[in-house]
């Protein structure tokens, strides 16, 4: 059992958990993730490790309620425990001093981006972070990102905070201004990563994307997280989760995300029905 020592709701439907997992805490590196099975009947859900404290033996994960299982996880409270936490999984981010790096994140992808931005800053890079959200309420980790970025640009789709519009447009603007950008890290909704890859492609700026594939074991056994990268088929869980964004077939990933839509909807109906029953 893995005890939840702290729970904090960061934004509507976005929750940060600090969980006791000493073995994971001492082995993890930026870019790696864990698989959490919250309870016996639950799914195995991959979640990026946002931060860790090897002395306290804790890791932090940020969960966005997107379906039944993430909703279920977010119902857990401080003092409760998750049944299983496996990790650290996946390849750590390749971190070196590239020069000037743009870290561009959207939505809960910011949770994945933060430890990478931190690692890149520590390696001596000039870090420009673009933190995109739908609206002001959904902007997360602003303070943390401020600390590890030389420049932090916030965008919201509705203009309720920061610049109105998409992060990719801001990135295009930086390029157009003639800023020298040596490396781009894009993490967020698949469609956003696809757009960023198209922005940097003409300028041949090396760009990586971190895929949020469906997984079961997370250890290379099932292959549900297959992704086409160039001419090759890779497993996001063991070969990734980060890949060259100019080679990833994002359309295939987007289609994969919709494969279980019907099952998700059925499970969500069950939650709603149960909640209604409780109310009446």
């Amino acid at each position: 059992m893995y005890k939840i020592v702290k729970k904090k709701v960061l934004a509507p439907k976005i929750t940060r958990f600090t969980v006791e997992a000493p073995e994971v805490a001492r082995a993890r590196k930026p870019g790696q993730f864990v698989v959490i099975r919250a309870e016996e009947t639950g799914e195995r859900v991959p979640l990026t490790i946002v931060d860790s404290d090897s002395e306290k033996g804790t890791i932090d994960v940020i969960v966005q309620e997107a379906g039944f299982s993430t909703h279920d996880i977010c119902c857990f409270q401080e003092g409760d425990a998750f049944l299983d936490v496996l990790g650290p999984l996946g390849k750590p981010t390749h971190i070196e001093n590239f020069g000037t790096v743009v870290c561009i994140g959207g939505g809960v992808g910011i949770a994945v981006l933060y430890p990478i931005a931190k690692g890149l800053k520590e390696a001596g890079n000039t870090v420009i972070t673009i933190n995109g959200a739908r609206n002001k309420e959904l902007v997360i980790l602003e303070e943390e990102l401020e600390k590890v970025s030389d420049e932090l640009i916030i965008t919201t789709d509705d203009g309720s905070y920061g610049i109105k519009g998409f992060g990719s447009t801001v990135l295009q603007g930086l390029i157009d201004e003639g800023r020298k950008i040596d490396f781009v890290v894009a993490i967020g909704p698949t469609i956003m990563m696809k757009v960023v890859a198209e922005v940097t492609r003409p300028y041949k700026i090396p760009t990586i994307a971190s895929l949020n594939a469906i997984m079961i074991d997370g250890t290379g056994m099932c292959g549900v997280c297959r992704v086409t990268v160039g001419d090759e088929v890779k497993f996001a869980c063991v070969d990734g989760p980060e890949f060259d964004a100019h080679l990833v077939n994002f359309d295939e990933q987007i289609a994969k995300h919709h494969y279980y839509d019907h099952e998700q909807a059925c499970q969500m109906e069950k939650i709603i029905a149960a909640a209604e029953q409780e109310r009446s």
């Binding site: 082995a27 009947t41 074991d217 494969y259």
Partner: protein, 477 residues
């Protein structure tokens, strides 16, 4: 009379007992649930079958068993009605008789060399093994083996599949302290994620593994060695005197043909893990499993049969499930019994047929498998006749669910983080077959991680051999 001189009166011929069939649930009933297909012997059937054993002095069956069970010994106890004694006899060399009685390919091991098989069908050794193990468990008569005084030595067992469990069982008996590291959330490896409930009930696996816990093994779940800890850390920082690696072959192979990443195409590992480990077939479990109306399973090994039969159960009676296999019937690697059960359950066999590409719809969901007909040519390096495509025989098999069951290879977490462990080009560890000794001092390996995908019992045999070598190694260290 002349005739009388020529022949003595015919000797009273001892009536030969036929091989006793094990009761099996009818196909139309069993495809509606995940309960076990074969029902096991009754006491009467077991007693009758046991009498067929000749108690021959050469007992080739023992040599045919990878873990050298005293087969005539346990069968003799069955004839005396001492079923519990018989189970204890088996457990002298095999912790998992209820498992092995169900999933071992006895027809190519102990039963293949049975002396009775020279004149009749062999003694049903597997069925008897299963019967006595079930009897012992159901009677609550499971006993722990004797454990030697503590040796003061610590051994890490990596992976809790058949080989790891066997090593742990043997080393615990020798008085060593054993810690089992398992990456998944349940012990058992392929026994829990791979083999379906209807062939091997998980409660039986859990009951047999329980012995290891009672004997004092420390269990560490959610530990992926090579990621959470490395082999070097286990030996240098955590104080383990020896390590056994039994991590199996977990990486699924694909066809590498166009369209293989379409939605609805999964590895058998994925499909079976959803159903078995994650229990997707049960209402209260959240993990989804999706089976359409036309399922194509690529491959014809035991795993392919397991996948096809599971798909039939998940999909329901009007789901059509077919096997697509590039060679002919005689060359299918699955056990005859599994193929027979699959046929009884209405699985269709498209033999001498090879997929060329998968075709999807506008949502990227698979709809069709384009296949080509094959014919058999000259034998290849495996000794089987090589299938050759017949030009112009391309055709479409409709399928909205495809399960690829082409075998597995070892994963590389440990090899990548342990430079002095040498592997083959297939990723298997180079290890001595007799002892499991790897290229790294104090590290032993056995099972699929050494041989590539094989059987439960071969992995257990390798585990036994490695345990013996580990005992010797620890005695000398």
């Amino acid at each position: 009379m002349a005739a009388e001189k020529r022949s003595r009166p015919p000797r009273q011929k001892k009536e030969r007992i036929p091989r006793q069939e094990m009761p099996v649930r009818p196909p139309e009933e069993r495809i509606r649930d995940f309960n076990e297909v074969a029902c096991g012997f009754t006491e009467e059937l077991a007693l009758t079958e046991a009498k067929r054993c000749l108690q021959c002095p050469t007992h080739p069956c023992v040599g045919g068993c990878p873990v050298s069970i005293d087969i005539p010994g346990f069968i003799h106890l069955v004839t005396e009605g001492d079923f519990i004694g018989a189970a204890h006899k088996i457990k002298e060399t095999n912790l998992l008789p209820a498992v092995c009685g169900r999933v071992c390919p006895q027809e190519e091991q102990c039963e293949q060399v049975c002396v009775v098989a020279k004149i009749d069908k062999p003694v049903g050794i597997g069925r008897l093994e299963r019967f006595v193990a079930d009897y012992e468990r159901e009677q609550g008569a499971v006993e722990l083996p004797e454990i030697a005084p503590p040796s003061g030595k610590k051994v890490a067992v990596v992976g809790s599949g058949p080989s790891g469990i066997t090593v742990a069982y043997e080393l615990l008996q020798a008085g060593h302290q054993v810690t089992i590291f398992e990456a998944l959330h349940t012990l058992g490896g392929v026994l829990v994620y791979g083999i379906p409930e209807f062939r091997l009930p998980k409660s039986i696996v859990a009951a047999e593994i329980e012995t290891i816990k009672k004997m004092g093994a420390e269990i560490k779940l959610d530990m992926l060695i090579g990621k959470t800890r490395t082999i070097d850390q286990l030996m240098e920082e955590d104080g383990f005197d020896a390590v056994f690696i039994g991590t199996g072959a977990g990486l699924p192979m694909f066809l590498n043909i166009p369209g293989e990443n379409l939605n609805g195409i999964s590895s058998a590992n994925e499909f079976l893990t959803r159903v078995n480990l994650m229990k997707a077939y049960r209402e209260e479990y959240v993990t989804p499993v999706k089976v359409g109306k036309r399922v194509a399973v690529i491959g014809a090994g035991n795993v392919a049969m397991d996948a096809a039969r599971s798909a039939k159960r998940v999909g329901g009676e009007d789901t059509e499930v077919s096997i697509i296999y590039r060679r002919a019937r005689d060359q299918m690697p699955a056990r005859a019994e599994e193929i027979h059960h699959a046929e009884e359950e209405g699985i269709i066999f498209n033999l001498l047929t090879n997929p060329v590409r998968f075709i999807g719809d506008d949502k990227n969901n698979v709809q069709q498998v384009e296949c080509i007909k094959m014919e058999l040519g000259e034998p290849d390096e495996s000794g089987r006749r090589r299938p050759i495509p017949i030009e112009g025989s391309e055709h479409i098999i409709p399928a909205d669910t495809v399960i690829v069951a082409l075998g597995t290879r070892p994963r590389r977490f440990i090899a990548e983080t342990t430079p002095d462990l040498k592997t083959s080009k297939w990723g298997t560890f180079l290890a001595d077959e007799e002892t499991g000794k790897t290229t790294k001092k104090g590290v032993f390996a056995g099972g699929d991680i050494v041989t590539g995908s094989a059987t439960v019992i071969k992995a257990m045999g390798a585990g036994r051999a490695a345990a013996k070598a580990i005992n010797e190694y620890l005695a000398g260290s």
